[in-house]
Amino acid sequence: MTDQSPKIPQTVPRQSATFTNEINSEIRRAAATGIYDIRGGGAKRKVPHFDDLLFLGASISRYPLEGYREKCSTNVTLGTRFAKKPIELDIPVTIAGMSFGALSGNAKEALGRGASLAGTSTTTGDGGMTEEERGHSKTLVYQVLPSRYGMNPDDLRRADAIEVVIGQGAKPGGGGMLLGQKITDRVAEMRTLPKGIDQRSACRHPDWTGPDDLEIKILELREITGWEKPIYVKIGGTRPYYDTTLAVKAGADVVVLDGVQGGTAATRDVFIEHVGLPTLACIRPAVPPLRHSCIHSCGLDTSWHAVRICRAASGLWRDAFTQRASRQVPFIVQAEAGTLCSLS
């Protein structure tokens, strides 16, 4: 006797939405090692991004410009609130801070050259200012970070603007760890650290806490640099309304908001993916405190755009990419994204 019944197709086992294969593998690895993963590269989850924005074109209520004949300017001036020498940018798309150590000198040079060609600024990052970026960036923002690696008054005066970094989109409120393989001779010397160690970084500034103290820190930076340079305050996307309000009260010329998709050299995977708000979600609550202080311009700052600009502008980019790739870091530029708001 033979089985006459037709063969029944089988469904594949249903994958749990919570316990995906990827999550299960993470649990097994964590159980075996007893520790979280540390990585860079920014949040990999899907978040609303500038690429999701839709813009209103002109029709009846607004008149369109003839694109080839009539100019629509994109330039912005930053720092007119207090600085004697405000910054002029041709486009409101800037390159965010990325540390020397995470990026090579060639990458820093590439970013500087590309940004200068595009008429915008670059930013130093943790680890201090390199000659590569200073020499090749028309407009360079110098970060004052909790670590103060390489911090010195000469570079402060060589900068075109100063950015006090309070938080980073990838890990607002968290310190981090730069893995030893990145602490090369040059990085170690710039940071006054032993070569090859896993460098821990602090979550708070060493010499002030809170907006009342920040106001005094900003005063000191202005006095050292003769009130010439715009002072930015960079915050991670956490409580954008309050944080922006307090940055304005503390005397910032510019507030830089860095959303959860922003990159980092290294912290816990769970921190990168689960702490912070997307930049787009931060903009709306951050605007009222800026409006109260007469916001002048509001631009976008995404390194995806920066990457495109740099790629087009600089043949050096490929070299930089190759260098990064050889160190097994997944991205050239961490997917930095933020909003730059100017006060006056």
Binding site: R204, T209, G210, P211, D212, D213, E215, I216, R239, Y242, L246, K249
Partner: protein
Amino acid sequence: MCGIVGLFLKDSALEPQLGALLTDMLVTMTDRGPDSAGIAIYGGAEAGKWTITVQSANPDADFATLEADLAAALDAPVKMTIKDTHAVLVLDADKADAARAALKSLRPDLRIMSSGESIEIFKEVGLPADVAARFEVSKMSGSHGIGHTRMATESAITTMGAHPFSTGPDQCLVHNGSLSNHNSLRRRLIREGMTFETENDSEVAAAYLSWKMANGADLGGALEASLDDLDGFYTFVVGTKDGFGVLRDPIACKPAVMAETDQYVAFGSEYRAMVNLPGIETARVWEPEPSTVYFWKH
């Protein structure tokens, strides 16, 4: 985030100058707190009398006949002094509870700033110099006082959100820092019968201390206990009828400077606040240790 000043007089000869000295200290701390300012003054307690300080959004209407209305309701004498948006009501001590109830029905919109034998609290939104001038703080005398300039972090910039907070008779607290567990602690204190006027974290700290003291702790003990129950960054300065206390959290990030001479003990968020005090050049100046309760009593 804020500026705090405090002055506890040991030498009664300085008492007529308390308001003037505190005003100078308060105004110096404007940069640390430009949003609102407040001051608690402990004047001389009159035997058998009780002082209630109230605030109104419509002082002209609310205060016009308040003295007579309250006296009638209590069937006892009431003396009222109006200072801008605030009024100080002095009545017989045994009428204190009745007066609170009467005020609630006579003028439901009035806000009680402080209540006690010697405390008066004045606070408003605005620059510290303007707030001090509106209440003529510089003319006030007293044995000790605490002032605060506020840079609001998360709760609203309102009169009731200004410091000092008073949650018990003759008690007040000012705070620089921010508490992380104030919402859960507020719910716990509400279950214990405490009432709150604001969403402010500092009010929770004040109510916590009042609750501890209402349950038998002295101020020192209440402050000790807060080290376990309050989570966050804080420098507190607290006042009672005859005392003055200081506490910093275990991390102690927020600044605090103290100065002591034979005449006074002074507190400032910065030394700058104390530079015009008499004899400051030779005072013992130090920074309070973390997790350590400091307390002075008359």
